[in-house]
Symmetry: C2
Subunit: 106 residues, 2 copies
């Protein structure tokens, strides 16, 4: 679903990735991470799609919410090792939403 | 592919959409639009994935490049009519990329 976000300004974290072959516990982790992310202060919504490329955009109230989530998520050395299993490559872009508009079929 | 973008700041336009049933000339248009977008001044790259939700992120140098593309793309009344055919809903978010980092499997 398209995330229902408030009026700008707010923040969007664009996470673009290419996967390794196989699951390696990825699906379970992915579900758990989204469940966890939704509980964090400042969480506004998330959108996801994957074909060859995966794109996850998570929306947050401010830079502090993003920083807190980053520290929450990176709490162990294990994380770095697990990344190697799941991803061939990824890029994270921290962006500030300046303006938005939408269309809905009547 | 993950877009190769320069160091921030630059801009990202996040286009999230849900489609109508059927093609209605969508694929041909989509290819043509990307071909056209790539030729515009200030174009930096594009990333796309679709499952239930479609996400296209296009990167541009500055707000002027985004504005020029918007005016280029919306040059006819036909566009609005065609939108009704292709999309159930979409949301466009104009964002400024403040920071980015990446991972590549060694």
């Amino acid at each position: 679903m398209i995330a229902r976000t408030p009026d700008p300004p707010y923040y969007a974290v664009i996470f673009t990735s290419t996967r390794t072959e196989g699951d390696h516990g990825y699906d379970a982790m992915s579900d758990r991470m989204i469940e966890l992310a939704e509980k964090q202060p400042g969480f506004l919504g998330v959108e996801h799609a994957r074909e060859d490329l995966g794109i996850t955009v998570s929306y947050r109230k401010d830079l502090e919410s993003i920083k807190n989530w980053k520290h929450h998520a990176e709490h162990s050395n294990a994380r770095q090792k697990v990344r190697e299993k799941w991803y061939r490559s990824f890029k994270v872009r921290i962006t500030r939403v300046e303006r938005d508009y939408e269309f809905k079929k009547s």
